[in-house]
Subunit: 206 residues, 2 copies
């Protein structure tokens, strides 16, 4: 039997150490070969065009465009490249957003290392790879219940901005800002804006 051409990989993660370590781990597999590495969305898109890799490993948390948006851009730039999203946080909102952005798989960094190579192979074969526990949580949690305005003001409130400050930034009256926050507090089941922001972040809603 003739040896198959290896699956060519592009690794995207803002942390250099993680890029190198994942590369080392995957290069141990005979049928996988790391051909590129990128630290942000722009580099990722450029390398996807130049290298047309078979699979792109994508971390979600990055400075600038996040991994979700980067996934969408990579898929547009190189449709033959499958994207496997690898993330630290098992947030249902992330899973949903990643799949909608065109990701072929979603795996958390808690997963055993042996599973990673398998996930890459499955994604390359066109299969959907999703952590079962996370898929269930996503179903249970349901979709993001927050409206655009609510997300917008809640993000700012979570950073400690006052209602008046937020009102000035989004061109609303302070009362309206408080009202949107109140709605967000109700939908998250929180008792105040700080807790609401924390919960929404936990679930990947903002």
């Amino acid at each position: 039997m003739v040896a198959q051409a290896p699956i060519r990989l592009l690794i995207v993660d803002d942390q250099a150490l993680v890029r190198g370590a994942l590369g080392a781990l995957l290069d141990l597999e005979a049928d996988l070969q790391t051909v590129g590495a990128a630290a942000d969305a722009d580099e990722a898109v450029q390398q996807a065009i130049e290298l047309a890799p078979d699979v792109c490993l994508m971390d979600i948390q990055m400075p600038g465009d996040d991994g979700i948006l980067a996934t969408k851009r990579v898929r547009e730039a190189s449709p033959s490249t499958k994207v496997l999203v690898v993330t630290t946080f098992a947030r249902p909102g992330y899973l949903r957003a990643a799949l909608e952005a065109g990701a072929g798989g979603f795996i958390v960094k808690d997963a055993p290392p042996e599973q990673l190579a398998d996930a890459v192979r499955r994604v390359h074969a066109g299969l959907r790879v999703v952590d079962p526990a996370l898929a269930e949580a996503s179903l249970f949690e349901g979709a993001n219940p927050l409206t655009e305005r609510e997300r917008q003001v809640l993000r700012l409130a979570g950073d400690g901005h006052s209602a008046a400050t937020i009102a000035a930034e989004v061109f609303l009256s302070a009362g309206t800002v408080r009202n949107h926050l109140s709605a967000a507090i109700g939908k998250t089941g929180a008792g105040n804006r700080a807790e609401a922001a924390r919960i929404a972040r936990d679930k990947g809603w903002i």
Copy 2:
């Protein structure tokens, strides 16, 4: 020349994928050998005793006891083991706390992969390894200005608890809690408790 005995490593990180990936990266070096892996502080201490590794790679963010406390416990359990703290966040407070806990080095995950093996060798040789930029920041930021009470109430406030709730948890009057929070707000230069909590977390003060 006779081959040196390899440097024996214990890797501590709550994320299985990262443990495996770091292990793969370091095992590429001829003079380094991964002999153990642990997912939390308890496992780390147990393995330090059983294996007496030369160097322990320690992540800071972990469930249960954090990496700082784990460092202290590993040093006590196996004094011959040097600890190299590896963290995602370059927070000056973390650096100071890690060194006080007995860490021999502190490196962030942004660092280039080649640097990691070198850092391990230096720590093993008994040298201090610290990211220069971070050391400067630590000097500039100074020590944690918050008192014990201020840290305590600010942590709870950051999770969205109200003054009354916090008061009940720490056995103080609501007014006293507000007063401690006010002090913390002043020391962090924030405008309210939420921002104060965010800033304090950023700097590794809570």
